[in-house]
Symmetry: D3
Subunit: 118 residues, 6 copies
């Protein structure tokens, strides 16, 4: 199942490279902001990742959810914390968030199984 992690990242990297190679100034700066916004500030990086995760979940962007799940996992956030954040997203965003919740659970499992096998 961990292939889903590798496949997602490979596609994401390949296409981001193509986009950035194009030198559209606005898009490049938005990508740049996207990196800066989640660094340590008044709020710590774990909190910021969860904010990005919840924003992505209520806006129902599966790829964005995957990205923030992976970073959250890497930062050592545990499943209970991540699920609690997703529970707020499901309440605020409604039952239409549930299909994205299913895919989030599947991706978290893939992250865990990839980690175990490495």
């Amino acid at each position: 199942m961990s292939n889903s992690v590798k496949d997602f990242n490979a596609y994401r990297s390949k296409m981001n490279d193509k986009i950035l190679a194009d030198n559209n100034k606005i898009i490049k700066r938005i990508f740049n902001l996207d990196t800066n916004a989640y660094t340590q500030g008044a709020l710590d990086v774990k909190t910021k990742e969860l904010l990005g995760l919840v924003a992505s979940a209520v806006l129902r962007c599966d790829d964005c959810v995957k990205y923030h799940l992976e970073t959250s996992y890497g930062l050592g956030l545990n499943k209970e914390e991540v699920v609690e954040a997703l529970s707020i997203a499901t309440l605020v965003g409604g039952t239409i968030v549930i299909p994205h919740l299913r895919r989030a659970y599947e991706y978290w499992d893939a992250l865990e199984s990839q980690s175990e096998s490495s």
Copy 2:
């Protein structure tokens, strides 16, 4: 084509089981409400399913549309009624609903062909 019905339901059940096994109280209660909301009340169950279908369609949630199509089909709503509900969704939600309409038609066909072959 009816495999799409089985596949959808198998994945949905498997992941719902994982989510509910996790015992997050908020998520469990939302799942519980999702069952209760469509039972007979001041409005009959057919009307409620169509309300769930239209809400899902304008919010462009394919899995939610599939779920309500399947329940509508099981309750004996006919295609003309379902399409009329979806026509309101397409008008209110705009042409961005059309790709979801295509997938809704495909799933309805799968429901009908599964039914014939059983």
Copy 3:
């Protein structure tokens, strides 16, 4: 409080007249479809109004909700039926629908008080 009903309808009519006077073919036809979509068909008019109401509520369009509340009221749908439809909208659309639910209740009260005073 019933002035809110009159004010809403007066503004709506005045601006719709301006828009239609402009003769943009696409907009005129969309307005025309908006009238036709809610007429009797495979589904009855009451069901269709509730579908329009729920679509409007989950998409969080206060003016659209008001319009469908008023038509629902005129068709003789009672408050329990309307609230049951709105409860599905709140579940599917999440707690962000709640502020719109408050305004829907306020407008329904205005419709009832206008009716009593006439």
Copy 4:
């Protein structure tokens, strides 16, 4: 300016009371969940309020933003923390969030000025 805080809360309370008096089971339980979701759990209450704030901001629900700003203020979150959360919302949700950011700033000012005058 602090009247905007009182007015918002008075309207919110009045309409919530009307809604809850209606005894629609689904709506009552959603209101109930809305209270429970932000209590201490695997995540602390401050983090949860910020998650609710960001979810509300990207979904562009002014009343929801006001509610979470007020609770955040009451919990002792400072402006820099709140603005950092809102900056993530603006990045993830895009420039359409900016008008809501203006109104969030205005409400935060009202919360501060109310607090000073009391």
Copy 5:
């Protein structure tokens, strides 16, 4: 009626100043990008304003629509061009865009009447 133009701009400027005075790096850069994105490039400024207008209309952001209407008006785009852009927004975004169309017409009238009286 032209006061609505002045009032909108005064509030917008006042709050933008407060936001920018706060020195949140992410928000400042997004504001900066918002200025740069609509300058002459491969596409001319008129086309870009219409793109901003349609994006704002389908996302149903009244303040964003007002802003792009005002800039479009200043660039000499005529009403027929602007309405044609808005007709695409109404078709793609559905009838929930109509209330925003009414307010867009009202603001365009305010822009025209302000211009005549100056």
Copy 6:
């Protein structure tokens, strides 16, 4: 890679034919409007395609984006113009548009490679 263009169009045509064969009056008219809205008027067809593209991108409808990319490509719009339109969509709609931007780049590549091989 150009098969993705053929596959998309084949599925789209097949399902559109099924939908139109159903004779739902509202849906047929919306399909009809969808054709008329992008014809030459006060705005030229290239501008209108870009408006449709940006509306589709901010509403995050991949199939709609593909459709407008293909028509834009057919009308001779170059990549720099299309990307500039998409950069406005990404700014207005936020970083949640980025996954759709990746898929838009992929589809544009498929359009170019199909064209070269024909």
